[in-house]
Every structure is written in structure tokens, then in C-alpha cells.
Symmetry: C2
Subunit: 457 residues, 2 copies
């Protein structure tokens, strides 16, 4: 079954110890505590580029997980995304040792003024020569709100209204301030930039005001590739307008297909094409030289895993303290300020806490694929064919071996099946993902902020 | 004349084309337009480490210079710190190719909540293994205020009041949230961090509130080395409390000595020692193999320089549009929201605009030293002996040759005179600068936020 499209692969990681598959930092081969060292990241970047990964997708969280047992104790003991360092500062070091690997960086829209954030992303797009994506998040933890001096997180829908306004400022700066040929670098005429080709934006929105010139000259992509993971109603509306890559949770092929179809339909309704959004599902892979070896590896991992840490993470995501339930109680959810996608799964399945714990041992809320390279490749291909996704965000288990296993064992099998590229494509991250140039397509909402007088690319 | 102390050397640069010595981007050998490429910065870092530079000091500005001719036209044509990319994102790439070079990064206190900024600096301190400094600025351009959605910049003294409060939050997070031995990484007991050794801060200040755990585990220095350049009355008060390295303008030895003596006296009055502040003066060096070669090089540079661009930069700094004056008019200053140190020079000397233009051709507002290696070394040593400074922020002229010339021609002459190290010292940037360990000294204001129960370092 030859594939017509190459599967998109991102490594899903985070600048911390425990990310998704909790407790594996206790495995004797795990190096995740070395996240503080540059070599940990430059080694990872080289491994991923060797495996022709499209990108590394760096998650982030502000605030701490303090819902479970109404405490941060387990969060600290199992290092559940705490401590967590800034992801954006890893990019330039990884970019310096690679040529094609992309970087999807999670940054909350509430952290700083759009004017300074616009420059941050432009700077990275320059330094990486067009390999940067931005995973847009609006935050959900009250502990983060208190830490940045607010009483509580804004309401969910309000956060997206703010984010819409924030994006408008950003895209005006990225697309509408400097013309393509503004920088001429003409030593003889003493003209670095032609003033007539640089324009001041003047944004007065419901939440943000900004009057000024973008501080950065045009970068390869201008607007970074826009990632998003929102699956709520308002989040989907935001995604339909903005997102180019959408990260979903999929419990099975049919559920993924429903989500994928809905997301693509919403993009089309927003004037885009179904292919204008690439949809990636989170997945955990445990690969071995043989099926038996893979299963033994999984058993070994499970011995070191912490289902309880998974539960504490799940509690923060759902807003419900899972410590309140007995092992054989069905789990009940309130409404509250929850990540709906996380709770939907347990709610839909009517799980008891015991069942949830078993699910959370490895994989967290993502499907787990265990096998030799051929079996993993076939299952990934089935996810694409049956689930309709374009690719995967691959979680880490024991690092760096989980990425090395994937590159050494699974990638060749995907390639043998025609489902994965054998060399990187040309141009920017956006061009490699969509094949339609380095810039936002004309049918993307953001293109309305583009200057009319633009030189041909 | 053997020196008892090694001269401190920082390369003074900025993530842009024109920084201090304007117009030199038109020189055929100048590569400053390559600031967008990682290799430009990693090459620079390697050159500086070869010359045993203590650090690279990265300036920054938000907003644009629009005072001169009430316009940004010349700013764009001569690329006067516009475009300007984010400096903080350069650090990890430069750190990955060096082992000892320090990084002083300019960041405005008004850009983001202290909680997220604290994590940014901790992340860099981790990734560089203790080589990070922060140049604290409060901003001064109304164009920046409008760009981030304010009507105008806050009053000068108010900005420092806010900055004091901002620093309190930061230092509480850096020094007072995680005990030294909080991270135990005990796989057998399944304890990554001991919860009893991690503490929540609760700051309620006049401008900032923050309640939360620092997101980063303790880094080598915890608090980055604190740099400052304020020389106003309120700025000096801030420096006396916080700054470990102070960057000054010195027009001659005597003026520098007055500033240095006053700054050290203020530090002592704040309970610190005179040696707790290292004072660096900005200087431009044009070095040649012989005196004649150096002077020819200077003449060549001056031919490519843009005194008018210097004047536009000066106009923004002083808040006075210098285009208003005739060439032979004495320059008059209003009060306004000016950088007082810049205007003091011209005011004190009673310059005409013509005189100012001549001064601004090369060097900007910094002294210029021209000569062979021996002569430059002797003049630098005289600045230390007569001016009382601890070292220099070395501006760039034509890059990279100005740094290469300095490393190849001047450094050996400084070393031959016993005025400069022949190898890097041990430990963090702070320890190399002060020789008293990696952490803030006990007599620094910030040490009051340190936890009482701290393990010995």
C-alpha cells in the first residue's frame, strides 16, 4: 500500500524531566535529568535529523500541578513537569548543529506584549533560516495566574478572544510592516533599508494596542508555522482561523477520524482547504529489534513508571483531584476550568480509577504502539489511513533511547513502505510541510495583513 | 608597572547592524549585516574566547529612534539599531561552542512578568553552566511605550521604583524558592526533588504580585551577574543596591575617576565593599600592526562612517532633535526624558553641532584609542590606573576584524604587561569576576531573600 503522502514526524519533548510518560526518570538508562545541559539538546537534535524528523515540538507549562492531593508534593517527587525550564532558549543551540530540523515552540499568549514576542519569533526564524513554528497556548492553570500577579485565570473563551486579538497584532507586525524588498543593503548609496518600504502598524483591538514598526526585518517564513492543540469549541474556532498544524489526542482510529474530519471541515468553512491543516496525533512507541524484545522493554519501562504521577498530571488537566476516589470508584468530573479533551476520554469510557491508573502507566493519554520496526510502522500507517491524521507527535519514554530506537528501527520500515521521506525537502519548515512556499498561503486569515505592494518572492 | 588586577574585557555588541560606530556597515569588509546568521555569532564567540574575553555584552533597545528630523528615515537608511533582533536567543548557540565566555544580556524590566523572566534567566544560567549576566534596563523611548500599548513611557524615577519591585520578585524566586539540596535525583527512593526543600514565594509589592514556586531548580549562580548602566541619581541608587558590574561613559580619566569614586562610595554606603562593583568604561579601539597602519585604518573607517547617523542616535538619547541646529550653533538641551549622561558631555563642553559631528564619526560617545598593540595596551592600562575603572566594554567598528585585531594585536601586549589573564579562571562568570564563589555575596541586598536553611555550597 504505497502512501501518497509522507508521514509527518515531530519529537514531542519538554525542557524538563517528566513530560508525558511519568516516572521513567527512575530508569537506570534514562538521561532526562540532563535537560539542563546543552549537549542533551544538541545530541537530541542530531539524532532527530538523522531520522529525518520534521521537527522537535517543545511543550511548556507555566504554573505547577497542585490539584492532586491539593499539593505539589508528588509533582516535585516525581518531577511532573516541575522543574521546567524555558523552551525557546534551546532553539538556537539545536539549530546550530542541524540544517533541516524544525522547531515547534510552545509559548503562552499571555506572557508578554505582542510587540516583543513578535520580535522573538522573527529572531528565531532568522537564526534558524525559516525552521520555526509556534505552538499557541492560552494557559489553564490558576497557579500560573497567581504567579504572574493575577487572581485567577481568565475564563476559557475570554482567553481565546484575547488570543485572537494578540494574533492580529503579531501578524500585522510579521506580514505588514516591512516589504519584501525593504532591505537593500546598498553600500554605495548608503541605504540599508528603504524607508518608503517600512510601515508602521497601528492596532487598536479590544485587548491590545500597538503602534510601531516591527523591529525585525523580514525572515524566511515571516509568520512562523502556527501550531495549536485546542479541541474545545472555542479552541477549534481559533484553530480553524489560525492553525496550520493541529495536535490532537486520539484514543482510537474512529475517534481520531471524527476529530480530523471536523477540524478539516472547520478549516474549509473558514475559507481554507482541507490540506491547509496538518493534523498530528500524540503517540507513544516502544520499539524493539523483535516483537518479544519490544514487549520486554515495555514491561521494564512499566516497572519504572509512576501511574500515580500520571494521575496527578491528569488531575491538573481535568481540574479534579483524583485522590478523592477509591480505586474501584467510577471517576466523576465537575465542570470547572478543565481541559475537556483529557476528561472526555475517561468520561466516555466510564473508567474507574483503577482502570485509569493502568492506562496512565505508559502513554499517559496517548495510544501506545509496541513492536518491532515493521509492526510499529504498519500501525502508524494504519493511523494515517484509518484515522486520517497526517502524522505524529512522538512522546519520549526512556531518553535518549526511545528516539534512537525509533530512528534506527522504525524509520527504515516506514521508508521501505513508501510512507516516509528518504531525504529532507527544500526551503523552510512551512514549505517542507505544505509544499507551497515559505509564506502563509493567501487563503490564510493572516494574509489579509500582508502589504499590497509586495515583491514577488 | 605590573598590575595587581586583571583588566576585565567585554565585547560590546548588539543583535543588529549599526550599534555605536554608525555607518561602518558600508565598509567593504564589514559583515555586520550577517547578524541574522548563527554562524556570525558562533564565530564571534570563538574569537572572543580565543582572546580570553570575560564576556560578550549584548545591548538591546525596544522602539525606534524617531527624534532626529522627527522621522525614522535616517534610522532605516543607516540601520541605526533598526532592525534589531532579540539578544537573549543568541546565547545558547554561543554557549554551545565555548566553555568560559560570559554573556551579559540586556533585557528591559517592563517586558514581561517577573515570574516568567526569572525562569528565562535561570534557564540560561543552567544551559551556560553559570555564565550569564543580566544588564538591567528600564527603557526610555516613547516609541517603545506606544508599541507595547502604553501612551508614553513612565517617568524616569517611577521606572526605577518599578524596577526595584521587579528585582525583589526575581531574587525571591532565584534565591528563596529552592534550597541548594532540594534536587536529590534519588532513583531508588523515587524522589527527584524533596518537597520539604521547595518553597512558595508570596510577593505583594507596590507594582508586582507573585505567588508561586520558581519553575527552575537552582542554577550555578542562581541570580545572574547583575549589570547596569544607569548614571542618573535614581539610577545610581538602584546600582548601589543591585549592580555588580556598572557600565559607564568616560570622556577622560578624571571624569571617569569622579564617576567611579562616587559609584564605589554609594556601594559602600549600601553596605557593600568598593570591590563589589566592577566598573567598565565603553571604549573604541582601532589597532594596527604599526601606529601608522592603525591611523590609516582609522582614516579608512572614518571615510565609511556616518556622523549624521551618530547625531540621529544622539538625538534619540538626548531627546533633542539635532536637525534643528545649524552647523555652527551651540547645542541647547531641554529637560525632557533624556539620558542625562549623553547630554552632559556636549553640555559641559559647550559644543557646536559641527564639533559634535566630528566627535560622533567614530567612537560615538566613547573614547577612541588608536595605535599598535603596545600603545593601545598602555592607554587601556592608563584608563585603569588613572580612571580607576576595572575594565572595558569594547565597541565594534568593522566586524569581525575589530575583534580579531584586538585579540591578535592588543591582548598579547596586555598580557606582556601583566595586566590581563593568560588563562580563564575557574567556576562561574561571577566567580571569575569577583573570586568569591558562584553566588551573590552575603552583603548584597539580594542575599536577604536567601533561605536560612541552605546547605554549604
Amino acid at each position: 500500500m504505497p502512501q501518497t503522502k509522507d508521514i509527518i514526524l515531530n519529537a514531542f519533548s519538554m525542557n524538563c524531566v517528566g513530560h508525558i510518560n511519568h516516572g521513567l526518570w527512575t530508569h537506570p538508562r534514562d538521561r532526562s535529568h540532563e535537560y539542563r545541559r546543552l549537549s542533551y539538546w544538541t545530541d537530541l537534535a542530531r539524532t532527530l535529523e538523522r531520522g529525518l524528523f520534521d521537527g522537535v515540538f517543545l511543550a511548556d507549562i507555566l504554573g505547577v500541578y497542585d490539584i492532586y492531593q491539593n499539593s505539589v508534593d508528588l509533582t516535585l517527587r516525581e518531577s511532573i513537569q516541575l522543574p521546567v525550564n524555558d523552551p525557546i532558549l534551546l532553539v538556537s543551540a539545536m539549530a546550530a548543529v542541524t540544517e533541516k530540523l524544525g522547531f515547534g515552540v510552545t509559548v503562552n499568549t499571555g506572557n508578554e506584549a505582542p510587540y516583543t514576542f513578535a520580535r522573538r519569533m522573527s529572531t528565531l526564524d532568522h537564526l534558524t533560516e525559516g525552521r520555526v513554528g509556534w505552538n499557541i497556548v492560552t494557559g489553564y492553570l490558576d497557579s500560573a495566574a497567581r504567579a504572574i500577579g493575577q487572581d485567577a485565570m481568565a475564563e476559557h473563551d475570554t482567553r481565546y478572544d484575547r488570543a485572537d486579538d494578540y494574533l492580529d497584532v503579531l501578524i500585522k507586525l510579521w506580514e505588514g510592516s516591512w516589504e519584501d524588498d525593504a532591505v537593500v543593503h546598498d553600500r554605495a548609496r548608503r541605504v540599508f533599508a528603504e524607508p518608503s518600504r517600512v510601515h508602521r502598524i497601528d492596532h487598536r483591538g479590544p485587548y491590545y494596542r500597538s503602534q510601531g514598526y516591527h523591529l525585525s526585518e523580514p525572515s524566511v517564513q515571516r509568520t512562523p508555522v502556527l501550531f495549536q492543540a485546542g479541541t474545545s469549541g472555542r479552541g477549534r474556532q481559533f484553530a480553524a482561523r489560525h492553525a496550520e498544524c493541529i495536535f490532537i489526542n486520539g484514543t482510537d482510529h474512529a475517534a481520531a477520524r471524527r476529530t480530523v474530519d471536523a477540524l478539516r471541515a472547520e478549516a474549509v468553512a473558514a475559507g481554507r482547504t482541507a490540506d491547509d491543516v496538518k493534523i498530528l496525533v500524540g503517540v507513544t512507541v516502544v520499539a524493539g529489534g523483535t516483537q518479544k524484545e519490544a514487549e520486554e522493554k515495555l514491561a521494564d519501562y512499566i516497572e519504572h513508571a509512576s501511574p500515580e504521577a500520571g494521575l496527578a498530571h491528569f488531575s491538573a488537566g481535568s481540574g479534579v483531584d483524583m485522590a478523592r476516589f477509591g480505586l474501584d470508584d467510577p471517576i466523576a468530573f465537575g465542570e470547572g476550568n478543565a481541559i475537556r479533551s483529557v476528561t472526555a476520554l475517561a468520561r466516555q469510557k466510564g473508567w474507574t480509577k483503577r482502570q485509569l491508573l493502568a492506562e496512565l502507566a505508559i502513554g499517559g493519554r496517548y495510544p501506545v504502539i509496541v513492536g518491532d520496526g515493521a509492526r510499529v510502522a504498519e500501525q502508524l500507517i494504519a493511523w494515517v489511513e484509518e484515522g486520517g491524521v497526517d502524522g505524529f507527535n512522538l512522546t519520549r519514554t526512556v531518553v535518549p533511547e526511545s528516539y534512537e530506537d525509533f530512528v534506527d528501527l522504525v524509520v527504515p520500515e516506514l521508508q521501505a513502505r513508501g510512507a516516509y521521506k528518504t531525504a529532507y525537502g527544500e526551503g523552510s519548515l512551512r514549505n517542507r510541510l505544505f509544499g507551497q512556499g515559505n509564506r502563509l498561503p493567501a487563503r490564510h486569515y493572516g494574509s489579509r495583513f500582508r502589504l499590497e505592494r509586495q515583491a514577488a518572492e
